[in-house]
Subunit: 447 residues, 2 copies
């Protein structure tokens, strides 16, 4: 049997799968925070190009992938589905474990799947520059790669504390032709105000979002780009799940469990969405979202309308949320430190089609070390959550159980986190449940 | 056409190709530095296991690859041969450019191909621990990965200046279960002597070799391991060339030029060796070694017997050499800073089967940036030399010229070098030709 199941270049999916028309219960609308009415495409036009906005509301099951995007995808796609035989042996499990390897993209994660699509659609609508925020830099570097491929300019506002502590992702952004500023920056009113308030301000993702949105709003040739949460982002990520489905068929396997990590939900959402039609028919694999115990949105958050950002500038999204004011503990999986989740994923959880579980980071690092010492590869701290979930699923599994891991990214630029683990400097954090009422108290009551 | 030419797991070569019996002129012997007589297997037994020593002198054309090694190879092999279509477009070349992607191994380079084999053979002979040296850490991390796969212990002496400046490769070593000491260390007489002489000593590769060899000589359960130069290392690397040959056949292509970077010669040697039988018949591709202008062994060095290390502890090897006392300028391609080259590769150069060219690192970084901005991937500074050579070959090429690049490793742990380039802090270095006579003056005259 092949250790790695490869597809040919011409087997890259030529359409993305859009789950919206297949949902048994429609997705709750995104609401305008002033009127509490559903937002319209025009509300979003100042910051996104119309082709991406229309994908938020797309009524058809399939969306053709333009050939210009397929050409860039082919630089690393299709990605292999790999059998983790040495991990299986180490666990003495009767399960068969596979991982879908999205770490092979130039930026080292699944993020370019949507970054390339977003760069392309902006380009076709005459946009010259994209502005975005990034925390640890995974999304910012993916967008810089993508804009570089389409000769667009790219401005990344990177949370200052990460900009200083993790210089490598900033270098990646510049290597691909992007510019990167520590946020708060002197480039925007939001940044200047924060610096006036506190010149030493370390920044936050919420503030960086405000800077990027302001940049887009104040420049005619510039739009804003978001790396997770929205429907069109999850749509683009369905190439991952579509390939996985085909690869499982080729291997003669049927997945019993699909495990992925969830921060905003784009990697896991893209992986599981193509399996949803089966789920809606009462079949299909268990879909298991793994989140950090320090930021347990799906497992501990109420399902409420909330803002997407700290500053309450976004529309209201129905999500499992810990409150837009919740500031998660400084775990190493920076990409999983978001107070909410993609509304589409939350909807599927609320309908019982997706399960969720949370693990403390010490469990997660143990899993990552076992993976490194058996399969050889260094997983991103985010991805290590999925590995941890898969290991728990494999322990005591019945003969022939098939487990699929969403291997969303490598950890080669996160080795400082491994160093912390090896040196005994990894702390676990309790989620402060008593704070949630306060964090949610200024939200409108909407049904 | 497929952008990436994949082979199945069962197409990993099951034998390594040994060029020794096919050489039109036999390889000059390795000499004992005292007697100036050819060394015998027994001379090497204190530091290497006998199975590897016998591979140095192997009389047959093929060496079976044990299934235990094939199993570990399958974690990342076969590696794809990738068409660099976007690089071709950017160059407006009529050539077709392919790259053989060895960056996909767990350690990020071709090095595990021999590390895994060496760990296996040592294991079968009852060795419990391997000791080695490493400069920037590519080889040390590859050996730590390999020993981890076979439950061997691993001790790496890492040149102190790199240990301090490049912590990530040290973390990799520890993640895979190895131990790593800055060299000079307190663990050996050689290290203690150097520290007594100068407590601030920054170390050198030559000194780290002395520490690793002493460690092996003074511990019964420990052997020494070398990542390049020797025949058995190049033998193990022939999986790269054998796969490439098969992939070119599948693509219906015949290589006109194969380009690789050369430090010790293992990556390039492994890539070209399987093409040598054709070369010996007056056919086959041009084989082009690319080296740094700051360390131009093949292009500027005389073909002489020299020591492999600064301290003159090794046997005498016939090589193009800049002298065992030559200390190359601090270019970013640390893996290419060796005063000699694999005797096997030097022999092929001397016989006219391999060509060589040298480029300054500014040219090399320009090439790496073009590759990153077209194909998307970040190449190691060493690998960037091969890309540079390929670009020169592509410029003005006739219709349909086929160029194959040995893409030996990624540069994700070398981003500081990219930062230096982007920030205008890359210097070129002149090779000090006037120093070569002095560097070679204490060598025995041997024919």
């Amino acid at each position: 049997m092949d250790k790695r199941i490869h597809l040919r270049t011409d087997e890259i999916p030529t359409s993305w799968y859009n789950v919206l028309p297949d949902l048994p219960v429609p997705l709750p609308a995104v609401l305008h925070p002033g009127t509490l009415e559903p937002i319209t495409p025009d509300d979003l036009a100042p910051i996104f190009p119309m082709s991406l906005i229309m994908q938020e509301f797309h009524p058809e099951r399939w969306v053709d992938i333009p050939k210009e995007i397929l050409e860039i995808y082919s630089q690393w796609r299709p990605t292999p589905l790999v059998r983790a035989t040495r991990l299986e042996s180490a666990l003495s499990t009767k399960a068969r474990i596979y991982y879908k390897d999205e770490s092979l993209s130039p930026a080292g994660s699944h993020k370019p799947n949507t970054a390339v699509a977003q760069a392309y659609y902006n380009k076709t609508e005459g946009v010259k520059r994209l502005a975005t925020e990034t925390g640890a830099g995974q999304w910012g570097s993916a967008l810089a790669f993508a804009t570089g491929m389409f000769d667009l300019d790219c401005t990344v506002y990177m949370v200052k504390v990460s900009y200083e502590q993790k210089p490598y992702r900033g270098i990646l952004i510049r290597t691909w032709g992007g510019e990167v500023f520590p946020s708060p920056s002197e480039k925007t009113n939001a940044g200047r105000a924060a610096l006036a308030d506190d010149p030493e301000c370390a920044g936050s993702l919420g503030l960086a979002i405000s800077e990027a949105v302001e940049d887009a709003l104040t420049h005619d040739d510039t739009k804003y780009s978001l790396g997770s949460v929205l429907n069109h982002v999850l749509l683009h990520q369905t190439v991952v799940g579509l390939e996985t489905k085909r690869q499982l068929e080729l291997a003669g396997e049927e997945a019993d469990v699909i495990v992925g990590c969830v921060g905003g939900g784009s990697n896991f959402g893209g992986l599981i969405m193509p399996f949803m039609p089966d789920k809606f028919d009462g079949k299909g694999p268990r879909c298991l979202a793994v989140e950090p115990a320090a930021c347990p949105t799906l497992t501990k958050g109420p399902y409420r309308y909330d803002f997407g950002d700290v500053a309450k500038t976004t529309p209201l999204l129905k999500m499992y949320t810990l409150g837009h004011g919740f500031f998660p503990a400084p775990i190493h999986a920076g990409g999983l430190r978001y107070h909410g989740d993609a509304p589409l994923l939350c909807h599927l959880v609320s309908q019982g089609f997706v399960d969720a579980v949370a693990y403390p980071q010490s469990e997660v690092f143990k899993a990552a070390m076992l993976f490194a010492q058996t399969e050889g590869f260094i997983s991103a701290p985010e991805t290590s959550h999925a590995i941890c979930g898969a290991i728990k699923e494999a322990q005591g599994a019945p003969e022939g159980k098939v487990i699929v891991i969403g291997y969303s990214g490598h950890g080669l630029l996160d080795l400082a986190a491994y160093d912390a683990w090896i040196s005994g400097r990894i702390e676990d954090y309790e989620y402060p449940e008593e704070k949630i009422e306060e964090a949610l108290k200024d939200l409108p009551e909407v049904e």
